[in-house]
Symmetry: C2
Subunit: 334 residues, 2 copies
């Protein structure tokens, strides 16, 4: 079983995936996987993945059979396992616990080669619905404290499969970058009695220079201090800390804007590798006045090297005002 281990200095946890235990000779440079090979995520290959935990399909379809529109399956090579207890323990001054968690793959489409920018808004909406449904289900497991949803697109962004998918990891710990974000937002709220994200949205709307697109309920901006060129955040305009509380109408509007955002990105930088992460409140926390869920999209155009590793400081060659202006002015075919 893998282990969670905590750095004794900073509150950084790592997962030591023991059974994957790699000796130096195991680190061979992985080849880029291109189209043409066998894809376990394609329609018709359902038997090559673990059985699905959720799927949406055309009328009359059966689970684990062709006919689905989206399916969620446990990761075949999970970093964490669902069965067992945490067994928190110390080893002298060091802290560790068992690698308990859930690690799932959201197969976003049955069609290989389709990417978010080429999907319909209805398909994107199914993806966001799957995020919600899996989070709501896993939140009932009292061992878990946080569920992170993320997507790696393209080899340079860490994707090992080409077929469009995202991932979910349920954790017994609130990750420290999320905790720090929540704590910082709380300090701001204590001082100002306002949500820092609501204030950002307000300033971005009045300045306009970093807005990429918006609709009645959502807005996409290039943040003021972006870590990466063309970094974008998608935020709900109305204050809400918990993504799971998003209703059907909200999800439709989110899907519309998210699709437009991905289409703009794909037209500016065709098939650019990217990561996105859904930041939401820890599970089972009542609605927080000081926190605001959102999605952070990080295109992979620059290298993270020693300076960034050592400092948490990023060097970004593209001002967000230029990126936003470029993305905003792209003409999309309807």
């Amino acid at each position: 079983m893998s282990e969670f281990r905590k750095d004794p200095i900073v509150a950084r946890w790592v997962i030591i995936a023991k059974e994957r235990g790699k000796r130096p000779t195991d680190f061979v440079i992985e080849e880029e996987k291109t189209t043409g090979g066998f894809c376990p995520l394609c329609e018709g290959n359902e038997h090559t993945t673990p059985p699905e935990v959720l799927s949406y399909g055309r009328p009359g379809y059966a689970p684990n059979m062709p006919g689905w529109k989206l399916r969620v399956v446990p990761n075949k090579f999970p970093a964490l396992v669902v069965e067992g207890n945490l067994n928190k323990r110390g080893e002298g001054m060091f802290d560790e616990m068992n690698g308990i968690g859930a690690h799932e793959v959201i197969i976003e489409t049955p069609r290989h080669g389709e990417v978010m920018a080429t999907m319909t808004s209805e398909q994107i909406s199914l993806i966001f619905q799957a995020y919600r449904d899996r989070m709501a289900d896993l939140a009932r497991d009292m061992r878990f404290r946080y569920i992170i949803i993320f997507k790696n697109f393209g080899r340079a962004a860490g994707a090992s499969l080409e077929h469009s998918h995202s991932q979910l990891i349920a954790l017994p710990i609130v990750p420290y970058l999320i905790q720090e974000e929540i704590d910082s937002a709380h300090r701001y709220f204590t001082y100002k009695d306002r949500c820092v994200f609501c204030d950002i949205i307000h300033q971005e709307q009045s300045q306009g220079v970093r807005v990429v697109c918006e609709n009645a309920e959502f807005i996409t901006i290039c943040p003021f201090a972006p870590r990466a060129p063309f970094e974008m955040w998608v935020l709900p305009k109305r204050h809400k800390s918990d993504y799971v509380a998003l209703d059907d109408q909200g999800r439709r509007l989110l899907s519309d804007l998210f699709l437009e955002t991905m289409r703009r990105l794909d037209k500016a930088l065709p098939r650019v590798p990217y990561n996105f992460m859904l930041h939401t409140a820890p599970i089972r926390t009542p609605d927080l006045e000081h926190y605001h869920w959102h999605i952070e999209i990080l295109p992979k155009l620059t290298m993270v090297a020693g300076f960034e590793w050592g400092t948490g400081f990023y060097i970004n060659p593209t001002p967000p005002e230029e990126a936003a202006s470029f993305l905003r002015e792209i003409r999309l075919d309807r």
Copy 2:
């Protein structure tokens, strides 16, 4: 001029390198640079770099001419510039200041193709001396608060030049990962009245399982909660917060152990890309009881993807006990 910008939520600063201002079309995939092309860092090509700010040479050599053993030059494409003032300012709720700083390149050897693992201990000692001398010099500039020294080796670790070099960036801000490390160590000290790094060294020496190598003054360990496979930390056994205070005898012992560490790494994983970062106290701080300078070495074997970006959580397939055992048992030819 570039700008420092602060994220309004977390205390994360970024450098927006405006004059590099990249539009999407500027992001072409960079080709791996291999031997054979022109190298501006090689002996004989001194005129292709900015004039040196420091060099050590054979007796009778002249600055900016062949005959040097090591030279330090300003980065030709600096992220920050030395001239000017910070002009700290607000833009509504956002904070920014001018991109003032120093960005230098330490050319570690005149010989192209030489790597740390193939150098002599005397050459490594010159490198550590250059770090010290440049830090001591730049510390006199009252605009600077922190000097980070780091090395990117290999394309996958962010190196754009093959010739062995490291980099120095002097900053008007203490980077937040460093500040967090210092603050966390301070909390530990307040509670225990001991340095957390001294405690780690003590526990590692008594357990032995994560020790890679050591000598009278220094120790190399695989840390208990490593972010990356074969991550190593090199620490002075005697408590010291400030690297600059290291004396000549200490530097010789550091160089011996550092060379042994790099040779073990290179034998385990030949020419593996890596980053290292020197973590030391902010400049002009009196000796700190709670902080302990050290070097963190991160081989680049796994991808940092959406999960790590979103959470600050790392998945590592190699337990540090296995990595340390493997590195420790390597037989080095004398």
